[in-house]
Symmetry: C2
Subunit: 451 residues, 2 copies
């Protein structure tokens, strides 16, 4: 989902009344970022509170490559990483993930057991776009919340719907209802489901004890637009890129009775902050034996504090850009290769900023391209290298980046090796369903990451 | 001002709390259009309820040229046109225009007399951007409203601030306060002023009798971005073009007690509708001896009605495009000439949609380029000519356009002839101020309209 997909973020069709209401009753973060311009590393960062370069969710197979977790990837989140649900358990929290972990793939699990396969027992009709997955995810979420409330157990629910990921889908009542086509149908069903979750919290009278945050793991994938792609509003490019359209995300927090209604925070926020903020809510300290990139956002949410902090934009092992305050400095610019682009793979359709949306990897580490995101959210007008404004910005940004890079201990890259044999051929429970498959011979090889 | 300049339309800095509140207490029109992609013709259309091609506010000096009213233009709104204030007078309304009529120019009037000159008595400090004009305009508006209320006279106020037109300006308390630079300072002062006007109406307890509408006369001028230019949100290009960024406008109506709060109307609206709607509010019929393009929007505002109607996009004498429902058909595409573009005059900076943002005038009258604005608000993906969707759209749009063109009686083009002698050398009141100038010899010549 993209920054511009919600009515409250300016989507012209205004089809997200529940998310818009959530914002009206809560706090909006217009300057909130994911940790990576694609899904798996962002989700690993949410769960670990750490940049993918630290937690290992990246590749060194080529420079600045976006890697994720198809089923054949050998790596994963290293055992040495501390995951949010595990930490929350210390404070008595029951945790659940519902929905997408990586790309749409074959086995579908409920708890620890396989319950069928995607496209077989859980089909998406690719012709009509019909699928009832969001309704299944919603029911799982509602049931989980009700059970925890009945048992008076504190809970952490990571509700990871994926209906806006191509192939986009919606269930029958939503199909064809959007002005925005099938993508909009998916957004409407997500919006409706969020409304149902918030309503349940209200019905259970646990809103004062339940902190709700809505965000996305990467910008809208413009490559699948317009039929399967969303909107990044006024921002440049989309998913796969380190321009604003790839990493700035919708973000709404809702916590009636604690966070005042209808607020907007210009705090630079990150998906990794949800790790630290969640620990803080549970009365826990973040781990002190490692670098945690997430901040506790509660002071911003409750007291309106603004903390100066950098946002780092990585592709794989490469620090592409950093934002500090209103300024963003690009050290590398790249969309994708000319070769891919000529095949029609375009992460910035209809957009072309000379020297910025480049199809060769352009290095600017000596003289970064700097944009003022307030005046120029679309990253179209680099500051003049000769301006005093540019020099002032560089003077502030350079030490922040140096400090980051000097202290950085990259994690072991997890997304380098692929092997068909590691796929979920025989997931737990497959015997009961008669759905076990024979794994092929193990042939580890370097994963190919084109961009 | 552009569609994307208001917080409620998704501007990331969210610096328009008063306009956003106006929307929250009123009705937002995300699909509202001006009558022309630049100022003078749009304003003439507002006052006459008629397209510029009918009321004469266009040129035939070259095809598809944007013409406006610099001081040396010989034409004006023809005497045969019926202006809104004149019509309202029949119902006892007192009318006032405050602010901009055409481009920033030399004499400044109060009522019928000159009170000084722009840049002399009414300076804009081009270095700092300081000017107190919005405060003067605001005071005039507040005084006018108070006087009419005191005298119990119905009134029509056309409050035409121009602080977001280059050279953009703001008064001292607003200078440097925006995250968006000087343009944002201007927006903030406008927003603050709107808040003061609404507050006055509340203080005077006349909100139930006062219909307030906010809109703009063209999209943000991207040519002066980022320091002097605004945002057209997710839309293509800006002022001077017939893409959405040039003509789709922010639009909010506020009428407490009549129009329900927090509504969104997807009615296709036009600035010309303000003519007809205002007459309707005053209990008057629109003129029946001529074609009026404006609709009465009251049924949309009060009963949520949606009326199917076309929006026509003209440049000069050329019908460039039409929108009907969600579909927009382009009969001609043009931004500006290669010659201008190579000089750096760019109406679509950072945007480039192949075959759409063309620098030669491309005719598509036989086979229009069609976009679905719901799925594709940025006009990036023309429908396939072979699709049934395309054929269906064409079948609906073609008769509407034919009917329009067959019935069209173009007005006498007013913006063809320029002559320095017609400028306001000796405006009424100039003697008192010692500011009369000697007019030069009359040399009428064809106005030059480059784009």
């Amino acid at each position: 989902m993209g920054w511009g997909d919600l009515g409250v973020y300016g989507e012209p069709s205004r089809e997200t009344p529940n998310l818009d209401r959530m914002a009206a009753e809560g706090m909006l973060f217009p300057n909130f970022y994911t940790a990576n311009p694609l899904c798996s590393p962002s989700r690993a960062a949410l769960l670990t509170g750490r940049l993918p370069i630290r937690n290992g969710f990246y590749t060194t197979n080529g420079q600045a490559r976006n890697a994720y977790t198809p089923q054949e990837v050998v790596g994963g989140i290293p055992d040495t990483e501390l995951l949010l649900p595990k930490l929350l358990k210390k404070a008595g929290y029951v945790s659940k993930i519902v929905g997408k972990w990586a790309r749409p793939n074959i086995p579908v699990y409920r708890d620890w057991e396989m319950v069928g396969r995607f496209y077989e027992e859980f089909p998406i009709d690719l012709k009509t776009g019909e699928a009832n997955l969001t309704q299944i995810y919603l029911q799982e979420a509602l049931d989980f919340i009700k059970r925890q409330q009945a048992a008076q157990r504190p809970f952490f629910l990571y509700w990871a719907i994926d209906a806006t990921h191509a192939p986009v889908y919606a269930s029958k009542p939503f199909l064809g209802t959007s002005q925005r086509g099938r993508y909009g149908d998916a957004v409407r069903e997500i919006d409706d489901s969020v409304g149902k979750i918030l309503t349940l919290l209200q019905d259970l009278k646990i809103t004062k004890d339940t902190f709700v945050f809505f965000t996305s793991d990467n910008g809208a994938a413009l490559i699948s637009a317009p039929k399967q792609g969303g909107s990044n509003g006024p921002f440049l490019c989309g998913k796969q890129t380190t321009f604003e359209g790839g990493m700035r995300e919708p973000a709404i927090v809702w916590w009636p009775g604690h966070i005042a209604t209808g607020q907007v925070s210009h705090q630079l926020g990150s998906i990794m902050d949800l790790f630290t903020t969640s620990l803080s809510l549970a009365g826990l300290e973040p781990p002190s034996d490692r670098v945690i990139d997430g901040l506790d956002l509660l002071p911003s949410m409750l007291q309106g504090q603004l903390v100066d902090r950098p946002i780092f934009y990585y592709r794989g092992n490469t620090l592409m850009a950093v934002t500090l305050g209103q300024y963003k400095a690009h050290f590398w610019t790249w969309t994708n290769s000319w070769e891919e682009f000529k095949q029609g793979i375009d992460f910035c359709p209809g957009q072309n900023v000379s020297g910025v949306t480049t199809h060769t990897q352009e290095e600017h580490t000596k003289l970064p391209l700097v944009f003022h995101l307030g005046r120029d959210p679309g990253e179209k007008y680099p500051l003049s290298f000769a301006s005093t404004e540019y020099l002032d910005v560089l003077r502030r940004i350079t030490p922040v980046v140096q400090q980051h890079q000097e202290a950085l201990v990259p994690g072991q890259p997890q997304l380098n090796v692929c092997n068909q044999a590691v796929m979920n051929w025989t997931p737990p429970g497959c015997e009961k369903l008669g759905k076990c498959l024979t794994p092929p011979e193990s042939v580890p090889k370097k994963c190919f990451w084109p961009h």
